[in-house]
Structures are given as C-alpha cells and as structure tokens.
C-alpha cells in the first residue's frame, strides 16, 4: 500500500475530542471483530491441543484423536456433499423460477417465502426430520434397496425408522436452500438485459435464452453459492444430531441403512453433556477441525465472490 492512503496531516487540522472518541470507538469495534475471530481460533487451539495429544486410555472412546475423528470427518463430508448435490439443482431451479419464470410482481413474494425457510430454527427442522420426514421416507428406502440395491449407496438393509444419513442430507439440503437460492437469484437478476434480449431476438426459446445468456454469466456466482451452502451444511448440528441414528466409528457409503456415521458437529452436541476430563478436550479439538474445514470452504467461497465485484453480497 502506498503512503497516499495514510491520513495526511493537513495544515490547520484541529482534531476535536468528540471526533477522536468516536473514531476511536468505531476503529476499535472493527479491530475487536478481528480479535474475536483470532480468539475463536486461539481458544479452540488452547483447549483442543490437549485433546489431540491425549492418550487413548484417558478418553471415553478409548481411541487416540485421529482414528476417533476420521469417521466423523468422513460423515461430515459425505452428509454435506450429498446435501449439496440435492440442493444445488433445486436452488438453481427455484432461483430461475423466481427471477425469470414467475410473473415479475410475484417474484418478490415468492422470494420472501423461500427466505422464510431460513427463519425456521434448526431444532424445528430436527423435530420435523425425525417425526415427519424420517417415517415418510421409509418406503422410499425400501424401494431403493429392492430396485437399486446394486448401487453401493443404496445397498441397505433399509432402515426401519428412516433415521438415516440420507434423511439428514435431505433436511440439510432444505436448510441450505434459502441462502443458495438468494445468491443465485441475485445473480440471475443481474444478467445484462441486453444479453437476454439478444438471445430472444435470435429466436431462442426461454430455456435456450437461459443457457446462452444467464448461465455463462452466472457460473461463478452459482459456484460460490454452492460453496457457501456447503459451509453451512458442514457446520449444521442439531438437525443432524436429532435425525441421525448413529453407530460410532462407521465409515460407509451406504446412505439408507440403520448404521450411519456421525458428523463432527452432531457428535459434539450428542457427547458434550456427559463428557469430562480429556474427553472434553477431544471434542473441542474435533470442533477445531470443523472450524478449519468450514473456514477454508468459506474463505474460498468469499474469494470467488469478492473477485466478482458486480455481486453485492446477499447475506
């Protein structure tokens, strides 16, 4: 940075006390935010490192840290990825519907309806997932096992309660839908009108217009929306903790059986209450791992967003 941006002392500048206090307050608030973020990393590290170094016989699971956390990382990644695979096409579709298919006046109301999904607390999602979605998914899983059982994902045996990783993924997909839709919608609406009209004037159908004018323009925006959604899905706790019926240490590709891997966040929520001693440190260390993963994903997503300056940043 060149020195031109540093505040130059102007001739005859008298700094008032009020101004000094006010700018001091706001500058320190800004710096405080950086400190909080650093504090999150620092305190998780301080309390987490003893967990990483803990002896297997000191902790409840009887395992050393990495073998303990690996299945959780696997579960976290698989749940978030499947959720993302479900949510992305739906989010793009919904955004396209709101921005280009629904009547203009209706668009805002429809957008608001989708935003309402973001307002539902995660514990309510959890309740809904466990009491409504899971039982209703059971026949679907049975059908999948019977007809697509040769695919490793649907190998079965199908869970009788429906509390599978697949159900958790669907709940997660619904939960990340609003933010992804909001970002996609914003970007679709920013497509230069001229490009769209040029495509239509060439005799394109509405879909061909979308393919020719909207998607090329919006590609990087969709990518960053997906990554932000991924970040959310990685960190979601309660819905997964409530829906999933967990078997510790599972690593499996099977999405519909009754033995499921847990996720880092859900595992912390489920185990923290009864944990004591080094077990707490192990859980905090696993939280640190989650923090690092989500931080990297969000960092990457925001870098993509920041590179596109046209996009003003929904949420």
């Amino acid at each position: 940075m060149t020195s031109t941006l540093a505040p130059r002392r102007k001739r005859g500048t008298v700094v008032r006390a009020g101004d000094r206090i006010f700018s001091g307050l706001s500058t320190s608030a800004g710096i405080l935010i950086l400190l909080v973020l650093a504090g999150v990393a620092a305190f998780l590290t301080i309390e987490g490192v003893p967990g990483i170094l803990a002896n297997p016989d000191e902790v409840k699971s009887g395992q050393s840290f990495w073998p303990y956390v690996w299945p959780l990382v696997y579960g976290t990644l698989i749940a978030a990825t499947v959720a993302l695979i479900i949510a992305t096409p739906v989010a793009v579709g919904v955004a396209l519907f709101i921005s280009h298919y629904s009547p203009r006046k209706l668009g805002q109301i429809l957008g608001y309806l989708v935003d309402l999904l973001a307002a539902v607390p995660s514990v309510v999602y959890g309740l809904w997932g466990i009491q409504f979605l899971a039982p209703n998914m059971v026949p679907v899983y049975t059908w999948l096992e019977d007809n697509l059982g040769f695919v490793p994902f649907f190998a079965g045996p199908a869970s009788a309660t429906g509390r599978t990783i697949m159900t958790a993924c669907i709940v997660l997909a619904v939960m990340i839908l609003p933010i992804m839709t909001a970002i996609c919608r914003e970007i679709f609406l920013q497509t230069p009108r001229l490009h769209e009209e040029a495509a239509l004037a060439l005799g394109a159908t509405r879909w061909e217009m979308a393919r020719l004018a909207i998607f090329p323009y919006a590609r990087s925006g969709i990518v960053s929306a997906a990554m932000l959604g991924l970040g959310r899905a990685l960190g979601e706790t309660l819905a997964v903790a409530m829906v999933l019926s967990v078997t510790a240490g599972t690593v499996t590709a099977n999405l519909i059986s009754s033995t499921n891997p847990s996720t880092i966040a859900a595992n912390i929520a489920l185990s923290f209450g009864e944990a004591s001693g080094k077990t707490v440190n192990v859980l905090i260390a696993s939280g640190l791992v989650l923090f690092v993963i989500t931080f990297l994903v969000n960092f990457a997503a925001r870098s993509v967003v920041d590179r596109r300056k046209e996009f003003s940043g929904a949420n």
Partner: protein, 259 residues
C-alpha cells in the same frame, strides 16, 4: 457581517494530482461573484476549498493562502468545522435532512451541534431565515411536516434558509439551480439579489445568462489541456467579461463556441 475573501497562489491537490493551479482572486464583501467555465475545470473544487469542504475527500490538500478578512483559512489553529460555520454552502441538488421537519431543517446547524435555545429564540430564527429565503409564506402552516415533502425549488430555498440560519459571513452556492425548473430558478435568482445586501456570495453556474443576471464579478476557469489542472483565466466586472473579455478563450466560451 459579510467578509471579503482574498485568495493568492492557491493550488489544490487530490493526493498527487494537481486539480486546480495557481489561483489568485480577490472577492469583495457584499458582492456576488460567479464562477463559470467548462465541466471539470475545477471551479467547484475551488469553491469547496473556500470552506474546506474538499477535505471531506481523502488526500485532498491545498497550497497557498485563502484570507477571510485578513485571517488565514488554512492557518495552523483553524478548525475546518468552525470555518464551515462561518462560510455556509448550498449544493447542486437540494438536500434537506429526510428525518427532520421543515422547522428542524432550518435549525439543523444549531440542533446538530446541540446548541440549547429557548423556544421563542428558535422560533425567531426559523421565521427570520425562512423569510430571508422567501419561503415563509409557503410553509408557515406546515413547519412540522418533513422537508422532503416540498417541491424541488422549495427544498432548495429551505436549504438556503438552513445555510443562513447559522448567520454565516459568506455563502457559497454550487450550481444551486441546475436541478430546478426555470420558475424556481428565477425565484432563487431574485433571492440572491436580496441576500447580497447581507452576505458575500460566490456562485458556481453553468448557465451564462444566470451569471450575467446575478453577479457583480465573473471569474472564468478553464483547463489548460486534458489531464492538466484547471486555472483561473480571467476575472473582472461581469459587464466587462461578457462584453469585452481580454482572453480569446473567455470570449469563445461565452459566445458558446466551445465547452
């Protein structure tokens, strides 16, 4: 009331960019001085340097002297905030505060600085300022309504009332009529004539007829070239500048041959 301005050898910079070069101009008390010239020639920048408003932009600084009745505006102990209390400003687009009523807008200079006043005193100021701005008759029954509900011309006169309610010595106007219709413009021009008896007025305008109509003195600014700083070409009695300018560039501009 009403002070003279004496500018000598003023250079205005934005960072390392020299925006206005070497301006020397005397402005008499209780007169109207118009700045004319093509867009981007630095006349607005120069106007803003007269009450240190240009300092709002980071990196802006000046070299040279601006004397207000002999007092250096950029002296070491000068507070730009106090300078601005002494030198009021009216902007290109009317900008009443949307959160305030007409009454509060007129008193904004006092209210924003938390000056305590008796009700009768503030009533007096409001009435006097609005009368001076020629707005009193139109708004006296709705002083508690938001200022943004007025028409463009009324809003601009409200802004003038706001500027003069703090009893400044000098009034700077940056193209005050460019966003207004001809009728509102003529009302404001009449107002400038009346305000001249109390204030030193400096007005930037793109409208040559307006400069001819309202001003005693006219200063013509021009760019010496693309990317070069703006300069003061000539200044003199308005009649002289319009009828018999010294510089060919001034004549060309006034006759509409360029700019």
């Amino acid at each position: 009331m009403a002070k003279s301005i004496d500018v000598s050898d003023l250079n205005i910079y934005y960072g390392d960019f020299l925006a206005v070069e070497d301006v020397t101009i005397p402005i008499a008390a209780k007169s109207v001085t118009a700045f004319i010239g093509p867009s981007g020639c630095g006349k607005s920048t120069f106007l803003r340097s007269l009450n240190r408003m240009h300092e709002v932009i980071r990196g802006a600084r000046v070299e040279g002297k601006v004397l207000i009745d002999g007092q250096d505006l950029y002296g070491a102990d000068m507070d730009p905030v106090n300078v601005r209390r002494m030198i009021g400003m009216v902007f290109q687009r009317p900008n009443p505060f949307p959160t305030m009523s007409i009454y509060d807008n007129v008193l904004a200079g006092q209210k924003l600085n938390s000056k305590r006043m008796k009700k009768s005193e503030s009533d007096d100021i409001v009435e006097r300022s609005l009368r001076s701005a020629g707005l009193w008759a139109e708004v006296k029954d709705r002083l508690d309504r938001p200022g943004s509900g007025l028409s463009g011309g009324q809003q601009q006169r409200l802004c003038i009332a706001r500027a003069i309610s703090v009893e400044p010595e000098i009034l700077l106007m940056d193209e005050p009529c460019s966003a207004l219709d001809p009728i509102s413009t003529s009302v404001i021009e009449d107002l400038i004539h009346e305000l001249k008896s109390q204030y030193t007025i400096v007005i930037v305008t793109h409208n040559m007829q307006q400069a001819a109509r309202v001003s005693d003195e006219t200063a013509f600014f021009n760019l010496s070239g693309v990317g070069k700083p703006g300069r003061l070409i000539e200044v003199g009695r308005t009649e002289t500048i319009f009828s018999n300018p010294t510089d060919p560039a001034t004549e060309a501009y006034i006759q509409g041959r360029f700019g």
